[in-house]
């Protein structure tokens, strides 16, 4: 990944609605160059999707988010991949990470109620043969997500005119 593409990515991550023309101006580059870089990164799945960061608590949504630590037995030849795939294909599963340390997979799942999350863990996840154990934690409040502080932003306290 060259420096230019990295800078384009940083600017998109800051605000994905920015067009190639604005990014080109900010970087002092040609618009075509930015357009080409974005296209290549989309093709290579470096840029996977353009999605907003949403503070769901503001929407008064009653979603429940659980973080589940899962211990599994890896498969010969495929390691953790097959089992991870079986898990991440469930639509209610939002993230799946392979972890080092005390457990193997970390899964984030979303449900409408506690019961729904509990049902997923007991009936879907725990029943998979390779799953040895699960430990479920519920998220009570999100303070920061994807590098963005969700509440209490640092407001601009500057005077409107200063020397």
């Amino acid at each position: 990944m060259n420096d230019f593409k990295l800078k384009v990515l940083e600017l998109l991550q800051e605000d994905a609605r920015r067009g190639a023309d604005v990014i080109a101006t900010l970087l002092g580059a040609a618009e075509g160059e930015v357009y080409k870089a974005i296209e290549e990164m989309e093709k290579d799945s470096v840029i996977v999707k353009y999605a907003p960061v949403i503070n769901w608590s503001k929407v008064h949504d009653d979603k429940v988010t659980g973080i589940i630590e899962v211990q599994i037995t890896p498969e010969r030849g495929r390691g953790f991949d097959t089992i991870a795939e079986r898990i991440y294909r469930y639509p209610e599963v939002k993230t799946v990470y392979l972890m080092s340390g005390a457990y193997d997979l970390q899964i984030e799942i979303e449900g409408k109620t506690l019961k729904e999350v509990a049902f997923f863990v007991s009936n879907k996840l725990s029943t998979i043969d390779s799953v040895l154990s699960t430990k479920t934690h519920f998220i009570l409040k999100k303070y920061k997500q994807d590098g963005i502080i969700l509440e209490d932003h640092e407001d601009d306290h500057r005077m409107l005119i200063s020397p």
Binding site: L11, D15, R18, V22, T25, L26, L27, G28, E154, D156, R158, M159, L160, I161, S162, P163
Partner: protein, 393 residues
């Protein structure tokens, strides 16, 4: 009750009474309390002081570090500043006697002038420039002599215009590059003829280098690093602009030990020392904050491109600022004066900018626009300025 027939203003020193109020004052008042304005009038970073710096200050408070420091500042802070100046700008100052920690760069300029100026001495100031140099010079009894700089020269000081203003009474030259308000910077080739004049006329230079870290495309070249200039230059700088620490009021002055000793005398009788908590934060900023500083400079650079391109597309001539975080576009094509432009833009389109005339000679016909604000606000401000210009052109 005061028993006197005189009005209170008659008690005032003429040195203070005769100073005109700052031209910026009027604009402070115009925008005061308003929430609906996009401001390009702000002379400070839009970043909050990096968290690790704030946290270091909190930690030092928890440890009870709340005392006076040495008058010249914490020895550790002077050490890190000395190392930093050497690394960044090849300036070598002895922390023990060539460096003084002050309450912002402003105090350092005041101290330097008070240490140097006797009534009648002339102080040469390239303009447009930061609004304080001339009033402070007058307060100490000096006579200020403005030297006009021009957009066609990218607002650089030229030897010709400097030479025209030098008289036998000339004693001090105040420099501010990168420049507030124009964003102009000076190169080796630009400095050399100035160096010759300074030497020939035996001038002392106060070089305000508060924006030294904020240059785009080329590194800042300190006047003190030019041949033979170290001993006759007082470098003034601080943490406000590069480390987003305006409210901490932390600055410093470096120079010949005799000059610094004289400034220290005034400082110890008037200020005593800079706040210890700000000094603790300064150590953290210089020790672990350079990467964060680079990130901020990178961001200013992006916005600089956006704003300059924007003004040019609107049809306002704008020289390319290569330092600080201000664009200084010409508004002459509108037929309005700087003040009219700034006032009408504020009233009709709710964008605040500072009229160029408040910065002295050569500033009329321009406005100062700070691009230390978010990209979305800059875009909105540019759109509004475009509508405004179309209306009046």
């Amino acid at each position: 009750m005061l028993k006197t027939n005189r009005s209170m203003t008659e008690y005032l020193s003429p040195l203070v009474k005769d100073i005109p109020p700052s031209g910026i004052r009027k604009f402070f008042d115009l925008v005061s309390g308003r929430k609906d304005i996009i401001s390009l009038g702000v002379g400070e970073p839009d970043f909050v002081t990096p968290w690790h710096v704030r946290e270091a200050c909190v930690y030092s408070l928890e440890k009870g570090k709340t005392t006076y420091t040495q008058n010249a500042g914490l020895p550790e802070l002077r050490e890190v500043i000395s190392a930093y100046l050497y690394k960044q700008f090849a300036l070598k100052y002895e922390p023990s006697n060539e460096l003084l920690i002050t309450v912002g760069g402003s105090e350092a300029i005041d101290l330097a002038l008070r240490a140097l100026i006797q009534p009648g001495d002339e102080i040469l100031i390239p303009e447009p420039c930061y609004v304080s140099y001339s009033p402070i010079s007058s307060i100490v009894g000096g006579k200020t002599v403005g030297i006009e700089t021009y957009a066609k020269d990218d607002f650089k000081l030229t030897a010709e215009s400097l030479a025209e203003q030098i008289t036998p009474q000339s004693k001090v030259l105040i420099l501010c590059y990168p420049s507030n308000p124009t964003g102009g910077i000076m190169t080796y080739e630009d400095w050399m003829p100035i160096v010759n004049l300074v030497e020939e006329h035996d001038l002392i230079v106060i070089s305000d280098e508060i924006y030294a870290e904020l240059t785009y495309g080329q590194k800042h070249l300190s006047f003190a690093s030019m041949p033979g200039m170290k001993d006759r230059t007082i470098v003034v700088s601080g943490f406000s602009k590069a480390f987003a620490m305006t409210g901490w009021r932390l600055g410093y002055a470096c120079g010949h030990q005799d000059l610094i000793a004289a400034m220290l005398k005034i400082h110890q009788y008037t200020i005593m020392c800079a706040p210890v908590m700000a000094q603790q934060a300064g150590i953290e900023a210089l020790t672990n904050g350079l990467e964060e500083k680079d990130r901020m400079v990178d961001s200013y650079n992006q916005r600089r491109r956006l704003v300059v391109k924007g003004f040019r597309e609107i049809g306002l001539d704008c020289h390319e600022p290569k330092g600080a975080f201000y664009a200084f576009p010409s508004i002459q094509s509108t037929g309005l004066t700087s003040e009219q432009f700034a006032e009408k833009l504020l009233e009709e389109f709710k964008v605040a900018a500072v009229p160029g005339n408040v910065f002295g000679l050569g500033g009329e016909g321009f406005i100062r626009c700070s691009y230390a604000t978010s990209v979305s606000e800059l875009n909105e401000a540019l759109e509004r300025i475009e509508k405004f210009v179309r209306k009046y052109q």
